[in-house]
Amino acid sequence: MTPKGKAPITITSSDQELVLASLEPEQLAGLKKHLIPRRRLNGTEKFVMWSLRIYLLFMIVVVVYQVFTSVR
């Protein structure tokens, strides 16, 4: 167990060796700064995503209406 709390945290060379031997490179917190390249959406994908977005907005209106009528 490594020290925690308010004491300064030091990472020893054995810790470094342990990390590099045990974790896959992509698991290192520092490497997660690197973005994964953006995906290009095709027409069908855009259509499905927009359809579901509109569906959600419409259904939220329905829920609000239902709450309104129930309260009334």
């Binding site: 308010k6 490179p25 490497l31 997660k32 977005r53 259904m59 939220i60 329905v62 309260v71």
Partner: protein, 463 residues
């Protein structure tokens, strides 16, 4: 990752890149060493140890989703419809949850990235923010209902609301105060297993097992037929098993735990076991409150504690107390998992440190978001005169409506060969996932029709 003054970091070369090794990495490396040691050994005990080390996110997400509003939804189901259609239906919803959650586990193990992070990276901020708004609103509303459940459950024992909410916040603080993913996970697992407290409660009602067996085979009866009330319960029960926060939580927890592609088969086992345990607790809750239906007791405005009070003449003070404790436990565990889900997502999107292995000094934003969400939700519950009962059922309905857009992101990511390589979803998983999306969308649309045209279901025998 942000470099706090107390995380003196060492530049080290890994491949061709200079990387920063953090305290979070060291903790995770210790966990992985134990996994590697267990995997290297042969024999039953080593296999079991490996299983023990790797289970966690799947069981936690499933038992976490058996949260306050979910258990109240199941209790309302039993009280309003008895033993019948909803018992096999709830089991079906957990099968859907397995299909969906397996994908998040596979994504996390293959990419080592959280769900929010992947959506932002692959689809860009436009779609990313849509997804985050859905998650943020859904999580916050659900958190409110967790505190409602805790307040209602502890109310059965005469605990004042402010003490109930305060205790839940202290529990949340203690749960994450260990600053170590492994310890947090094991502690919460030990508490989450108390979700099965609904099983002895169900047994105390001396259920009619023949009716349970008949319901499982025939999916009948469905008292009242298909009506708006039935659809609200259908949606609430679906929302009690599959919700957006689960996608974000299990993937982030998988990453935080450090699972890799070698662990995927046991990750699946973890998810299936979690779903089985949660389904048992859910069915037990329906069975436990079914006597209220048999006795024609109106349960429309019950919040949790009222179910316990109504059951007391039938199962005694002890049984009723177990029921109330079950509601409290469900709310407590979920308040932790949902707050953490929000904090993970925030950290992933804001590119701030986000791990339960972080000391407070290095994870200030992570812990701030976590506690801010929980404290605000807890405070709202203390506002007098709030229509809490309706909020509980409605939150599950909203969760179902938000699921199809969330599932499309998940579906596309799980089939994205550029990030998943050979671990893209097989055909059978895609067919099942498509069925889940279509089913949830249709359920939502049916609900919409029932609201706009309430008499549309009259031809099916409903009200």
């Amino acid at each position: 990752m942000g470099e706090g003054p107390q995380s003196r970091l060492t530049q080290q070369s890994a491949g061709q890149q200079d990387v920063v090794i953090t305290h979070e990495d060291v903790d995770r490396a210790h966990d992985r060493v134990r996994v590697s040691a267990a995997r290297a050994q042969r024999g039953f005990s080593s296999r079991f140890r490996l299983l023990w080390l790797l289970v966690g996110p799947g069981i936690l997400v499933m038992l976490g989703e058996n949260d306050g509003p979910s258990m109240i939804s199941y209790a309302a189901t039993g009280a309003r419809f008895g033993i019948g259609f909803f018992i096999p239906f709830v089991i079906l919803t957990f099968c859907m949850a397995i299909v969906v959650q397996e994908m998040t586990m596979r994504l996390g193990s293959a990419t080592h990235r959280g769900h929010a992070e992947l959506i932002f990276d692959r689809f860009g901020p436009f779609w990313g923010w849509f997804s985050m708004i859905d998650l943020g609103i859904g999580n916050f509303l659900t958190l409110i209902t967790e505190f409602i459940a805790i307040r209602a459950g502890l109310g059965f024992f005469g605990v004042p609301p402010w003490i109930a909410v305060g205790s839940a916040l202290v529990f949340l603080y203690l749960a994450v105060a260990m600053h170590r993913y492994w310890t947090w996970e094991r502690t919460l697992l030990a508490i989450a297993i108390f979700n099965l407290i609904f099983v002895p409660v169900a047994l105390l009602t001396h259920p009619h097992w023949h009716s349970v067996g008949h319901a499982l085979i025939t999916w009948m009866p469905l008292p009242g037929g298909l009506s708006q009330d039935t659809l609200i319960i259908v949606l609430a029960d679906i929302g009690a098993t599959v919700t957006p926060w689960m996608l974000f939580f299990q993937q982030s927890a998988t990453v935080d735990k450090g699972l890799t592609t070698k662990d995927i088969h046991l990750g699946r086992f973890d998810t299936v076991v979690g779903a089985a345990l949660a389904a048992i607790a859910a069915v037990a809750t329906i069975i436990a409150t079914a006597p209220l239906f048999a006795h024609h007791m109106s349960a429309e405005n019950f919040q949790g504690a009222e179910f316990a009070q109504a059951l007391q003449p039938l199962i005694g003070r002890f049984g009723a107390a177990l029921f109330a404790l079950g509601i409290v436990e469900a709310g407590m565990v979920a308040s932790v998992t949902i707050s953490i889900s929000s904090a993970y997502a925030f950290g992933e999107v804001a590119r701030r440190p986000h791990s339960l292995n972080l000391p407070v000094t290095q994870g200030k934003s992570f812990y701030t978001v976590l506690f801010l969400c929980a404290t605000t939700a807890g405070a709202i519950v203390l506002i007098p005169g709030l229509p809490l009962v309706y909020v509980v059922l409605l939150v599950n309905v909203v969760a179902v409506l938000a699921m199809p857009p969330a599932l499309v992101f998940l579906f596309m990511l799980a089939n994205d060969r550029e990030v998943m390589g050979n671990l893209v979803s097989p055909l059978w998983a895609n067919i099942l996932a498509t069925c889940v999306v279509v089913f949830l969308t249709l359920a939502g649309l049916l609900f919409g029709i029932s609201v706009i045209a309430p008499k549309a279901f009259a031809f099916l025998g409903g009200g």
